[in-house]
């Protein structure tokens, strides 16, 4: 018995017993009370009559004195009956209403609702701990890819408004403290369907605790963690956390990618962005003198990347301690460290803003960052500006500055985790792409643009197995050869190809970048595609529906039903009979 029913039953015991006793007394009294029938003989109600009378009286329906007009003794008892049973009913109803309003009962109801929603998830789900901006962006992206998610968050309001938000799947929300293992289990950590845990709360310490709990209680689960501090990061890795994502480091890598190869950065931006948004333009990071304002975690990570590409860097930071540490390191020779804040004209001029090519405003205060950008723009309008954006509410302000690159920690983490979970092959693709010549990225970009047009592509993986590509596997088992170009054929019109580009093929741990059209698909392959949503739908048809697959392989629309199949065969045979005759005729 569930907790909710048990609670209701327990609470209803006394009201029901009071009703039973009230009814019993009333019925008994009605049976005993002496009456007179229509002929004037002494008469008493049977239990049947009495129960009938009490039932319609107690519920205030009141059919009257049935079957014969009552005697005074019966009327007296009927009066008592009315007061006993009607009061008993009111008491019971009041009890039910107060039970529904009981906070304990409501909590139990919510918990059982959550459990039901959890049980209704058909395959696997991902548990997201912390429903802040990152968690929200992630939940949105994952549900759009048809991946179920479950939320645990401390904030009651967030969980309560969850059903009101516009997600394409139902997201069960659990109100609880993710640091408490018991509550994590309640939220579904040990559920067989739980495939991954994502810890994206604001505090590194909480994330660490979640990662430890998850790895201990459900060891074969994938754990992804957000971390901003290095000591937590190494701690998380030490017990086998699968992915630790540091927004600063991730952004520094993206920055260095943009610096070395703008086209590769553009490719990254397109393939990891939110599908169906507008295509972004390439970013050209200039090499030359750079100024970094704010030498915290963000400034330091970017400085390391700038150091690698041998450009001159000037750092502005108010901390003397940081300067002393900076100057002792030998690799920092030739780069200046100026004590100051950066949002005043003087410091920027001393740092050489007039002949600098780029400025990084990387303090942890949004107002300071905005002020730095405004001042620097006035002094040198051609600057390439990298802005650190800390609070989501300032989004409009940062957009108004037209900074060339804006680092938004939540967006970066959500993008990375989405790529990790939705298309793991994408990581392999990007790693391979990094080792290619710069011209390769240009060719790939023009290919994607030619196939897709104006908006960012959907990314999907074709798994050639019986579960996800039934028809494909069936045909492959028959020994037919299916090539990449076949699967790119449109199952509706044979002349057209679908708007999709194969990015990488994985076969027995071997990776093949940009597989060509003539490669034959084998069972067990995984192919990563990018393309339009309609291309994805078309491909789902041809990989799962035998009829569609047959069509794209042979360009013939074969009938499915028995009678049409027979007619089709008959017509074909007739055709064949004609053809040899023609040939013979020609040979003569």
């Amino acid at each position: 018995m569930s907790l909710v029913t048990s609670l209701i039953m327990r609470q209803m015991r006394i009201p029901i017993i009071i009703l039973i006793i009230g009814y019993a007394i009333s019925v008994l009294g009605m049976v005993i009370a002496p009456g007179i029938d229509d002929q004037g003989n002494p008469w008493r109600m049977s239990f049947f009559d009495a129960f009938y009378f009490v039932s319609f009286t107690a519920t205030t329906i009141g059919f009257g004195e049935i079957p014969y007009t009552f005697s005074n003794a019966q009327r007296t008892w009927a009066l008592i009956t009315v007061y006993i049973t009607v009061v008993a009913w009111f008491y019971s109803l009041g009890k039910i209403i107060s039970l529904v309003q009981d906070p304990l009962f409501r909590e139990a109801l919510k918990e059982s609702q959550f459990k039901q929603q959890l049980a209704r998830i058909p395959d696997t789900f991902i548990l997201i701990c912390g429903f802040g901006e990152t968690g929200h962006a992630l939940a949105k992206a994952l549900t759009e890819q048809n991946i179920h998610t479950v939320i645990i968050d401390e904030n009651k309001d967030i969980i309560q408004t969850l059903p009101l938000e516009d997600f394409s799947l139902v997201i069960p929300g659990y109100k609880g403290d993710a640091r408490d293992p018991e509550q994590l289990i309640q939220a579904g950590l040990q559920d067989k369907k739980c495939a991954a845990v994502i810890a994206v709360t604001a505090s590194d310490e909480t994330n660490l605790k979640i990662a430890v709990t998850s790895k201990l209680l459900h060891p074969d689960i994938c754990v992804v963690c957000r971390s901003e501090l290095e000591e937590f990061e190494s701690n998380m890795f030490s017990f086998g956390t699968d992915f630790v994502i540091n927004p600063f480091e991730t952004f520094a890598n993206i920055f260095s990618m943009a610096m070395h190869s703008p086209s590769l950065h553009l490719l990254y931006d397109w393939l990891t962005g939110v599908p169906n948004t507008d295509l972004t333009n390439p970013i050209y990071v200039k090499k030359g003198h750079w100024i970094i304002c704010g030498f915290g975690r963000f400034g330091f990570d970017l400085y390391k990347q700038l150091l690698k590409s041998n450009v001159q860097v000037t750092i502005i930071d108010p901390s003397i301690k940081k300067r002393d540490a900076f100057l002792t390191l030998p690799e920092n020779k030739g780069n200046d460290f100026i004590i100051g804040t950066g949002f005043d004209e003087r410091t920027l001029t001393v740092a050489g803003i007039s002949d600098a090519v780029g400025l990084i405003s990387g303090t942890d205060n949004d107002s300071n960052n905005l002020s730095i950008i405004m001042t620097a723009r006035e002094l040198n309008p051609d600057l390439f500006i990298v802005a650190r954006h800390n609070k989501k509410s300032n989004e409009k302000l940062f957009a108004a500055t037209h900074a060339n690159l804006v680092m938004q920690p939540n967006e970066i983490i959500a993008r990375k985790i989405r790529t990790l979970l939705v298309s793991p092959l994408m990581i392999a693709f990007l790693n391979k792409a990094r080792n290619q010549a710069p011209s390769w990225a240009n060719i790939t970009i023009s290919r994607i643009m030619g196939a897709l047009g104006e908006s960012l592509p959907c990314i999907w993986t074709l798994h050639v197995n019986d579960k996800e590509a039934r028809a494909l596997c069936q045909v492959l088992r028959l020994g037919r050869v299916i090539r990449v170009e076949n699967i790119l054929q449109n199952p509706r019109q044979k002349e057209n190809q679908i708007a999709a580009v194969p990015l990488i093929l994985k076969r027995n741990q071997k990776l093949l970048l940009m597989p060509t059209n003539d490669i034959a698909i084998k069972s067990g392959d995984q192919i990563l595609f990018c393309g339009t949503p309609s291309a994805l739908r078309s491909m789902l048809w041809s990989q799962n529906d035998l009829h569609s697959l047959n069509y794209i392989m042979t360009y013939e629309d074969t009938p499915d039903s028995f009678i049409w199949r027979k007619i089709h065969q008959f017509l074909k045979r007739k055709e064949r009979r004609h053809r040899p005759r023609q040939k013979r005729h020609l040979m003569k």
């Binding site: 048990s6 039953m9 327990r10 209803m12 039973i20 019993a24 049976v31 239990f47 049947f48």
Partner: protein, 127 residues
């Protein structure tokens, strides 16, 4: 002393004794079986059943099951009575009486099992 258990035992045993009182006598003789006694058995049994609502222990669920069985038997007995006397409009015959009594006999067995379960539960308590 657990008051909940005492109250439940009272109603359970009362249900059994009343049931026996109704059941005792010649099977087909309407004079040996009092309709008031049947009424009392049903009421007491109803109360005993409701007292086990929401009990999540194994023994509680078993007791709920047995008293529900008794209730089903008693309700069918009273329905037979009501049908013959009030709907058909005939007088009580020995045939009908024996049907009613055998149904109440079944209820008595169910109530008897409840009491045995009650005794087992009580003897299992350590304090």
């Amino acid at each position: 002393m657990n008051r909940e258990k005492v109250v439940f035992s009272f109603f359970m045993i009362l249900a059994l004794t009343l049931n026996f009182g109704f059941y005792a006598g010649e099977v087909d003789n309407p004079n040996h079986h009092n309709v008031y006694e049947l009424f009392a058995v049903i009421v007491v049994n109803l109360i005993a059943t409701v007292l086990k609502f929401g009990d999540r222990s194994q023994m509680g669920a078993m007791l709920l099951a047995t008293s529900l069985v008794a209730l089903v038997q008693l309700f069918s007995a009273s329905l037979v009575w009501a049908y013959v006397v009030n709907i058909q409009g005939s007088t009580m015959t020995p045939d009908t009486m024996s049907t009613i009594i055998s149904l109440s006999g079944g209820a008595m067995i169910a109530n008897f099992i409840s009491v045995i379960l009650l005794i087992i539960e009580t003897s299992m308590m350590r304090h």
